[in-house]
Amino acid sequence: MNVNQHTPMASPYGQPQPGYGQPGYAPLDGGYPAPYAPYNGPSSAYQPGAPPQGYSPFTNFPSKAVVANPVSDLSSPLDLGPARGPPTSGTPPVSAPQPYNQYSQGDMQNGPPPLTQAPPRPAASQLYNQGAVNLSGPQPSYPQNYGPQPSMQQVTSQMTGMQITSGAPTPTGPGYAPPRSSQHPASTAYSAAPPPSYTQAPPPASPAQTQPPPPSGPAASQQYYGGPPPPSQQPFNSSLPPTSQRQFPSPGLPPSSSQQTFPPSSYSGPVSPPSQAPAHPVSQPQQPFPPTQPPFSSAPPPVSQPAFAPGPPPPTQGSFPPRAPPPSSQPGSFPPPGPPPTSMPSGQYPGPMPPQQQPPPSQPHPYQSGPPPIRTQMPPTSMAQSNHLPPGSQGPPGPPGPMQQPPSQPGMQGGYPPQQNGAFGQGRGPQPGYAGPYPGQPNYGAPAPAPAPGPAAQKRLDPDAIPSPIQVIEDDRAKCTEPFTTGVRGQVPPLVTTNFQAKDQGNASPRFVRCTAYNVPCTADMAKQSQVPLAAVIKPLATLPPDETPPYLVDHGEAGPVRCNRCKAYMCPYMQFIEGGRRFQCGFCSCVTEVPPHYFQHLDHTGKRVDCYDRPELSLGSYEFVATVDYCKNNKIPQPPAFIFLIDVSYNAVKSGMVNIVCQELKTLLDYLPRENPEMDSVVRVGFVTYNKVLHFYNVKASLAQPQMLVVSDVSDMFVPLLDGFLVNVNESRLVIESLLDQIPEMFADTRETETVFGPVIQAGLEALKAADCSGKLFVFHTSLPIAEAPGKLKNREDKKLVGTDKEKSLFQPQVGFYNTLAKECVAQGCCVDLFLFPNQYVDVATLGVVPVSTGGSIYKYTYFQAQSDTERFLNDLRRDVQKLVGFDAVMRVRTSTGIRATDFFGSFFMSNTTDVELAGLDCDKAITVEFKHDDKLSEETGALMQCAVLYTSCSGQRRLRVHNMAVNCCSQLADLYRNCETDTIINFFSKYAFRGLLNNPTKAVRDTLINQCAQILACYRKNCASPSSAGQLILPECMKLLPVYLNCVLKSDVLMPGADVSLDDRAYLRQLISGMDVTESHIFFYPRLLPLTKLESGSLPLAVRDSEERLSKGGVYLLETGLHLFLWVGASVQQELLLNIFGTQSFSQIDPSLTSLPVLDNPFSQRLRDIIESFRAQRSRYMKLMVVKQEDKAELIFRHFLVEDKSASGGASYVDFLCHMHKEIRQLLS
């Protein structure tokens, strides 16, 4: 903190001011200064204005400023600086120096004003942060930010977003590249812009400076804001949301990128613009991009708008007024940097900027107006370029801005507008939407300034100022309004928390495959330098939402799928047909293969097969082949799979009610066995076994009047006592099965047997499947540590004393080798094991879980199971587990293009060699994380391809191949890597990597490794991508600005840092659970969703708040969702009305904390709340039991455990503390 603050203080101050002091820029670089100038201008304006305004008007602001400073410093400055710095190449350095210079200069030029306002400046620096924010989404975002910001988080998020965006923008830039094409011109314009900017710059600078002086101005600006915002907001909201959202949703992303790029370009406007712009799009390739851009161009703008509309607008609306100023101030700072460039490029900015800047008072304006100006400009630009979305979206906002600004900088606009407009339009669009991205851009300019000021200003890091997950999530949601199409290589998909529709256009949908990075470094050196893990999380059988088409099934008849001769890759869109279609060249290994006669088709003039769009395997990223007999085990068409239910009937199992519940449920559940055609009966056969220390098999042959029980006591050498009648068709044997399920609880009602076996139970199921020569799934319902004399017998080895020692790892390892061997056999047979545990004490999950985990099964654990309270959860889990689609006897192979190789796999499976992932069972919830490493250079042209092929037996017994193709870009610039990665996926990878590391390393070593790698990633960014700035600044890449907070969550998880009350079993359970999680689940698991329930509107969820106790209001009710648990937290002084609505009780004390479901009350609130809870449950693969937690109650301890931004009881760092720690680490690395 201190460091941050200090450093930021110093540098930011200097920088911002200087930066603001466009003069400095101007002097330094014509181009830069200009962009900066404009930005600075605004920022400065903001700052000046902000401080006063912010402070006075917005209490938050100040606080934000304070906090923001650090944060902003951290993010925006860093990002902006670095990101742009490098791209700008020339400029960045300049900028870097600029800050200082600027500072001085600023002092010099702006100095005066600042000087006068020197104190405020610091604030201004904070403002810078804000500015940074502004940058990120200065124009649009600000308003939005403001809206959101009302909550501290939003602001921070924006801030962070801004900062990050700075980083992000650049990355996004590439995405936008296409748009940029238009931009290119823009860029050219930029170049042109620069000059204008310069010209403008000065003005802005001056304005900025001037602004400070006219604090009143700010006030005015505030008023303006007040004025403008509403209008702008309204317009935005109205105009943007509708238009932008609608049109831009999908573009949102691109725009952001474009925006970013633009910003950069704009930044560089003069000089850097091009470089940045290229970088983003393809920085240098700009030209090439241009073509692409066109298409995008249209998109981008929309995107940006949409982004705005969704994310920012709401916030802005809500919070804007209040916080707007502060943010604005911050944004202001951003804007200054960002805007300048942007403004520079786009006449708009300039326009607005100038106005803002020019009208120093407008500083706030700049922020606020910044956006508006943009809008204003936007409109023009957009208008000019394309009236499409941008205009619309911006139009609305624009008006206000333009109104204000235009006047100020009409000339500017005029000059810049055209080019910049285009750029801006896009850029702006994005920016608004992508508060983040934009900020990034702004960051370029802003980074330096913002950070410095912020940190300096405050001594203590304000939680609101640090990157907020909520803000990022909301921003992403906001910008995602259109379906995500997978056709373009290297696009970062929407976040997992965003509802979007994916359209398969040649790459696998993000629902199937998510990558940590969508731009892969070209060389191993780069990859090593960055330390960013290259991994993909693949969920091969993921369930798609109803509005997306499941993979098509392709049947090539007896010939089977067409494959490359050499690498055996399956036919996919990456195969290039040559020689008139007679041959094709493999995209993976480049080998040329003859096209089989039956598959021949002529090519059209573009070299595409004529039937390209008729064949899924030629046009889609995901599809399925019907496998021929060659793909079957033993060259035999597989038998339909079987489900075997193995139920523990020892004393504990019976007493807890488990046996009774399972048997009752199975009677109905058996009608819902998985089937592919809902109108047909399932072909899955079922069998039943009960056991304690001996096993009871049941003959339920249809011809029997009564089931027969076959007891096998010879557990040392398990075998299946019967063949015929064990596995039966449910419909045929229904009566017998029902009779059996009725009788099982009775038969064992008086049992006194407490010992159980476990190994033989699985063996029994395995043998049964072997005997029936089919694959299948075992459902084992087990209660206790298997201590009866039998193979796989276990001892109680729970020893708390080992926790924290080097021997701790042994507790995660299986106790005996027996289960590993058994797992291997199970996999060979295609026997998947799902384990339901009902322990009352230690059961050694680490050992019992070996088989389920190795066979692609799941473990469910219901500690201290009580029929009354846990039945619902258990039954829902069971129902889902039984019903879900599942494939058996699967083999997954990941093929990649030359230069990259899948080296490591994480998940629930077994591998007998280094390439084939064997899954006895693979269900729709299981994800496999694959790590890639370079083994050669990659080329930017071809990108990196991967093909994941899963051969499996469907639940109807058909052998199939599911193929997912994924192509990502390759980059030679680290910045591109950082711009196109996905933190959620990285966290997914890290957690799996770390949790596996636990088996062999001390926990502390694992934690340190994680921290180190993360620090290296960020340090590398700082070193190579961020503009030079004070070492005291923490600069985070836009795309990774949440990395610290999420990583902290991983480190604080029970697995890596157990509390005193966390049992070894729980840790082992979670460890294994996470190994199969996809990104969505791991995200919610590590960063739970916390919703305030004070007001519920139908149709939309309340805005989540950050996981911190500070965010909880005593008077509120909150719902917290972790993917495994659901808590309803009730504040001590909650309104009576809420109580009545939710619980139907009058007072807090009357709430029954043992409730597991809410009373059904006939009021809209209750109805809606229950609907929300239901919908949450429906989203997760496991049923979440609801716990009602009353404030100050004992149970609150558990609840607090999930407030992951706070210090944890077990010693986990708070978010703020951890961020500081990270910063320290990074600085160490940098020095």
Binding site: F697, V711, S713, P721, L722
Partner: protein
């Protein structure tokens, strides 16, 4: 008793003295009556009814002093006494008070006639006097039965061990038989069911609703302890903490598998009805996997753990050879045929020794606990009886061999297992212990019969072993009224030590057993024979010779040897014994075969030996190892009459010429206008002569005017029916005619007096030539005479 006319048989040898046989010489008459009387009263037939007084002389008699003893011979006239026997107080004697004891009524003291210990009568005998004697002192009660009132009376136990690798039809028939048998069991008897195929299932009978069974892998040799653990039989003992509730639990635990018939007969009937064929697929070219070894092991283990020393009958039903696991007799590859005698002689039977050893161990375990094992093997091919025979042979169980469970042979035989006596009690008893006590001059060498040694050494045990020796006590786990043991004795009196004047050798048989009405009983038979000096009284001794008993006794020795020796060696030994006997007792001039004569009391003996030599007990040619084992099994346990039929089948002739008459077992008896009925014990053959067969084919019996022909045809059927209804196991019933393929059963038995070699040389009026190179009785006798009179022999 149609077989009593055996003695009327006319031997070619003694033809000239035909009259003598019929004439009732006083001696003969005396001995015949004496023997008959002894057999009727005590169930004992001695080879010699006068005993040579010294060891040397006894040895020279060739046929040892020995007897056939039927411990539980049915005695409707003998009501058991309701008290316990009075025992000699000497610890190593414990002989039972008997009519031969000297009693001092005044002193109320009796002297043991084995150890001469003087014992006071117990208090309950206070009222004893010359005129008030307890039954055991009356001469007619040389055999007497006591009922032991003490101790619990555990119910009978029947454990069905059922092979499910059967053809559907067979299984169905078997299931029906088993269901039927439930109605024959006494209501309080305990029943259990074990089924097996690839796996072994022990069915729990007590539960309602779901049918439970415990399953064992068919390939794993489990110890008795493991089995009991797996069946949960030891649980109560292991986990029981309170003393009281433990006992009932124990009972309950064991009762899960063995339940009183009256309680579970419905249940069990259903269970049997639902029995499925072994569901495991049998690939082409394979035998079904049959875990007979483990099934038995489980059965034995179960009874061992629950009801040791209680009468129990394990009834094993098999439809094929054990093909896996311990006790496997043949692999499951059909291309590998089951071992034949040829393979065994070539030492080519891979599994033979191992399997035999396994089943022997099993049989011994079972015998120790007093449980007997029956084998009901019905299959067209061999089922491994050779290896498994000891199960029954050592425990007194039955072996029944048939072609299919769906034949009346099996069905009726099985039904007859549960036949009842005049009191309505089963003709079976369990856990019998036979103890032999001898007076000083005699010692017991051993026993041949369905028993195991209890290794009771004592003063009356000879060092010279014959059969199962080295002990004076044997366990006969399953015992029925016809079970007959051969006991061999040795006279140990030295030649120079004179036998006390008027002294008698005394032997006491004490049989303790569990009666089928669950009472424990003790039957005591005390017999005495006079001593005779072989030098001075050789004539007397000769005339006391019981040639029927001797033939059977010697045959048992032969069969016993045949189990362990090569066939030819046994025959040679038998021949030498016969020659020695002829030399000892024949009247001849040296080197003049024509002068050779045998006395009446020995006249039939060589003929028995001739047929014995040809019998399947010693000849394995044309018999599978299983068949040989089966025949031998029955031979060593049937009583004298049945044994003689087995050695020398009887042949009746039916014709219009007169009433049915027994005829010589000779090819000359096969005439066109006769109907023959041959009883070999195992087979019952009705043979229609050529003419009769033609008439029958022409349908004369249907015509009213040929009513007499119809009667003639029916006569042998009626007689056969009579035999069929009493015989156990039921014989194979064969109805054939001249030229019929089944006629071979008859042709292979008759003395081939007319063969293709001598057809026209001997008489020509009668008979059918037998196409064989076997020697005829005539030739055999000629050789015997030659050898007997030869001075060089």
């Amino acid at each position: 008793m149609p077989y009593l006319f055996l003695k009327q048989f006319i031997s070619p040898l003694s033809k000239p003295e035909d009259n003598l046989i019929h004439s009732t010489s006083s001696v003969m008459a005396t001995y015949q009556e004496f023997i008959q009387q002894n057999e009727d009263r005590d169930g004992v037939r001695f080879s010699w009814n006068l005993w040579p007084s010294s060891r040397l002389e006894a040895t020279r008699l060739v046929v040892p002093v020995s007897c056939l003893f039927t411990p539980l011979k049915e005695r409707p006239d003998l009501p058991p006494v309701q008290y316990e026997p009075v025992l000699c107080s000497r610890a190593n004697c414990k002989a039972v008070l008997n009519p031969l004891c000297q009693v001092d009524f005044r002193a109320k003291i009796w002297a043991c006639n084995f150890c001469f210990q003087r014992n006071p009568f117990p208090p309950s005998y206070a009222g004893i006097s010359e005129v008030n004697q307890p039954a055991e002192l009356m001469p007619q009660f040389s055999t007497i039965e006591y009922i032991v009132q003490r101790g619990p009376t555990p119910p009978l136990i029947f454990l069905y061990v059922v092979d499910t690798c059967l053809e559907e039809e067979d299984l169905q028939a078997l299931k029906e038989s088993l269901q039927m048998s439930l109605s024959l069991l006494p209501p309080n008897a305990l029943v259990g069911l074990i089924t097996f195929g690839r796996m072994v299932q022990v069915h729990e009978l007590s539960c309602e609703g779901i049918a439970k069974s415990y399953v064992f892998r068919g390939t794993k040799d489990l110890s008795s302890k493991q089995i009991q653990e797996m069946l949960g039989l030891t649980k109560a003992a292991a986990s029981g903490q309170q003393g009281r509730p433990q006992a009932p639990q124990d009972a309950a635990a064991s009762c899960r598998f063995l339940q009183p018939v009256h309680r579970v007969d419905m249940n069990l009937t259903d269970l049997l009805g639902e029995l499925q064929r072994d569901p495991w697929p049998v690939p082409q070219g394979k035998r079904p996997l049959r875990s007979t070894g483990v099934a038995l092991s489980v059965a034995v283990g179960l009874l061992e753990g629950t009801f040791p020393n209680t009468g129990a009958r394990v009834m094993l039903f098999i439809g094929g050879p054990p093909t896996q696991g311990p006790g496997m007799v043949v692999g499951d590859e059909l291309k590998t045929p089951i071992r034949s005698w040829h393979d065994i002689q070539k030492d080519n039977a891979r599994h033979l020794k191992k399997a035999t050893k396994y089943y022997e161990a099993m049989a011994n375990r079972s015998a120790v606990n007093g449980h007997c094992i029956d084998i009901y093997a019905c299959a067209l091919d061999q089922t491994g009886l050779l290896e498994m025979k000891c199960l029954s042979n050592l425990t007194g169980g039955h072996i029944v061999m048939g072609d299919s469970f769906n034949t009346s042979l099996f069905k009726q035989t099985f039904q007859r297992v549960f036949s009842k006596d005049y009191n309505g009690d089963f003709r079976m008893a369990f856990g019998g212990v036979l103890e032999v006590k001898t007076s000083r001059e005699v010692k017991v060498c051993g026993t041949i019969g369905p028993c195991v040694s209890l290794n009771a050494k004592g003063s009356c045990v000879s060092e010279n072993e014959m059969g199962i020796g080295g002990t004076s006590q044997w366990k006969v786990c399953g015992i029925n009224p016809s079970t007959t043991l051969a006991l061999y004795f040795e006279v140990v009196n030295q030649h120079n030590a004179p036998v006390p004047q008027g002294g008698r050798g005394v032997i006491q048989f004490v049989t303790q057993y569990q009666h089928s009405n669950t009472q424990r009983r003790i039957r005591v038979t005390t017999i005495a024979r006079n001593w005779a000096d072989a030098q001075s009284q050789i004539q007397h001794i000769e005339s006391s010779f019981d040639q029927e008993a001797s033939a059977v006794l010697m045959a048992r020795l032969g069969v016993f040897r045949a189990e362990s020796e090569e066939g030819p060696d046994v025959l040679r030994w038998l021949d030498r014994q016969l020659i020695r006997l002829c030399q000892k007792f024949g009247q001849f001039n040296k080197d003049d075969p024509t002068s050779f004569k045998l006395s009446e009391s020995l006249s039939l003996y060589p003929q028995f030996m001739f047929h014995l030599r040809r019998s399947p007990f010693l000849q394995v040619f044309n018999n599978s190892p299983d068949e040989s084992s089966y025949y031998r099994h029955h031979f060593v346990r049937q009583d004298l009459t049945q044994s003689l039929i087995m050695i020398q089948p009887i042949l009746y002739s039916y014709s219009f010429h007169g009433p049915p008459e027994p005829v010589l077992l000779d090819s000359s008896s096969i005439l066109p206008d006769r109907i023959l009925l041959m009883d070999t014990f195992f087979q019952l053959v009705i043979y229609h002569g050529e003419t009769i067969a033609q008439w029958r084919k022409a349908g004369y019996q249907e015509m009213a005017e040929y009513e007499n022909f119809k009667q003639l045809l029916l006569a042998p059927l009626d007689d056969a029916q009579e035999i069929l209804q009493t015989r156990f196991p039921m014989p194979r019933y064969i109805d054939t005619e001249h030229g019929g393929s089944q006629a071979r059963f008859l042709l292979s038995k008759v003395n081939p007096s007319q063969t293709h070699n001598n057809l026209y040389a001997w008489g020509q009026e009668t008979g059918a030539p037998i196409l064989t190179d076997d020697v005829s009785l005539q030739v055999f006798m000629d050789h015997l005479k030659k050898l007997a009179v030869s001075s060089s022999a």
